[in-house]
């Protein structure tokens, strides 16, 4: 899922200080799971902002809506009737959601309420770690299901490098060396001979290096 972090409330206040009607728009997907922009966080932010404005002597109307998703037309249409009533919308969705709201409601001010961080997993409650960089050409089949692109600091295709010691990475002693993990797992799978196969130079044109990307599936298009 997409992992995001709440923005400091001071930063949000700075953007919406001049508003009199605000919509705080949550998203029921990834940002709900990583507890950054779901219904609950919408409630907390709205309550805190109401108090902030009241304390400034301003009665600001702050409404709360949480959509199923903000990255799909059909759900974003749900606020079509009300969107223009507000001076600004604070979207607590990931960067995708914020941009989609901004695209769809072109003349509306839209601000992000979270910092979108990475594609990751919930290791435990309150701990999310990166697992994928969406490079567009998955090599997990050759690396024992562990991604060296997202988990090796150098994105090495044939690691480890000399900075790997005791299974940890030289950039941070708490960070596992992805290549150590790969070798350990290949051993566990009884496929250590795969480690001897060199991975060829990767086609980075499917990564961001090729510019903004697009997936077109004519078979599912209507």
């Amino acid at each position: 899922m997409i992992v995001a972090e709440k923005k400091p409330i001071e930063e949000i206040i700075e953007q919406v200080e001049d508003c009199e009607k605000l919509l705080i728009l949550g998203c029921n997907e990834c940002v709900t799971v990583c507890e950054a922009g779901g219904k609950k966080e919408v409630g907390v932010l709205a309550s805190a902002l109401r108090m902030y404005f009241l304390n400034q002597g301003k009665e600001v109307r702050i409404d709360e809506v949480t959509l199923e998703r903000q990255c799909d037309h059909e759900y974003l249409e749900e606020i079509r009737e009300v969107a223009d009533q507000y001076d600004a919308i604070v979207s607590l969705a990931c960067g995708v959601g914020v941009q989609f709201v901004a695209e769809k409601y072109h003349s509306q001010r839209v601000y992000p309420g979270v910092n979108t961080c990475f594609l990751g997993a919930t290791e435990q409650r309150g701990l999310w770690t990166e697992r994928c960089q969406a490079c567009g050409t998955c090599i997990l089949a050759y690396t024992a299901g562990i991604c060296p692109i997202s988990r090796c600091a150098k994105r090495l295709l044939n690691g480890p490098c000399g900075g790997s010691s005791n299974g940890k990475c030289e950039i941070n002693p708490e960070l596992d060396c992805a290549w150590q993990l790969i070798i350990d797992r290949l051993k566990a799978l009884g496929r250590l001979e795969d480690y001897e196969k060199l991975l060829e130079i990767k086609d980075w044109s499917t990564d961001r290096a090729g510019g903004p990307r697009k997936v077109i599936r004519e078979d599912v298009q209507i």
């Binding site: 409330i9 409630g43 907390v44 108090m51 902030y52 304390n55 002597g57 009665e59």
Partner: protein
């Protein structure tokens, strides 16, 4: 025991202090409460194991947020005591009332219509 404690405290019963969420604390202030104290069991004695630790974290979050929005983080406080410690409850109740009285009323009430 017939202990007395300040009458301006409104007790809201919850099954465990772990039930108290940050939004409950914020709503209380939004509705005009001058202070909120969460009273949980002694740490290590939670019937649900970690409820009071969760409550403590949420109180801390609420404290930071209230500080950021200018209401004042000192208005929220967490206490731990056992159900058999009536005199201590009365003492804590007096303490939080004194703290809040010294801080003055909830600042948002100056502008809020129909404040509690």
């Amino acid at each position: 025991m017939r202990l007395s404690y300040p009458t301006n405290i409104r007790i809201i019963r919850v099954p465990c202090s772990g039930k108290v969420d940050i939004i409950h604390i914020l709503r209380a202030f939004e509705k005009g409460a001058d202070g909120v104290c969460v009273v949980g069991c002694i740490e290590g004695d939670c019937h649900f194991k970690t409820g009071n630790f969760r409550a403590r974290k949420r109180v801390e979050q609420a404290r930071k947020l209230l500080e950021s929005v200018g209401v004042g983080g000192e208005r929220v406080k967490m206490y731990n005591l056992s159900s058999g410690e009536g005199p201590l409850f009365a003492r804590y109740a007096t303490e939080i009332v004194d703290i809040v009285k010294a801080l003055g009323p909830n600042p948002i009430k100056r502008f809020k219509k129909n404040a509690a």
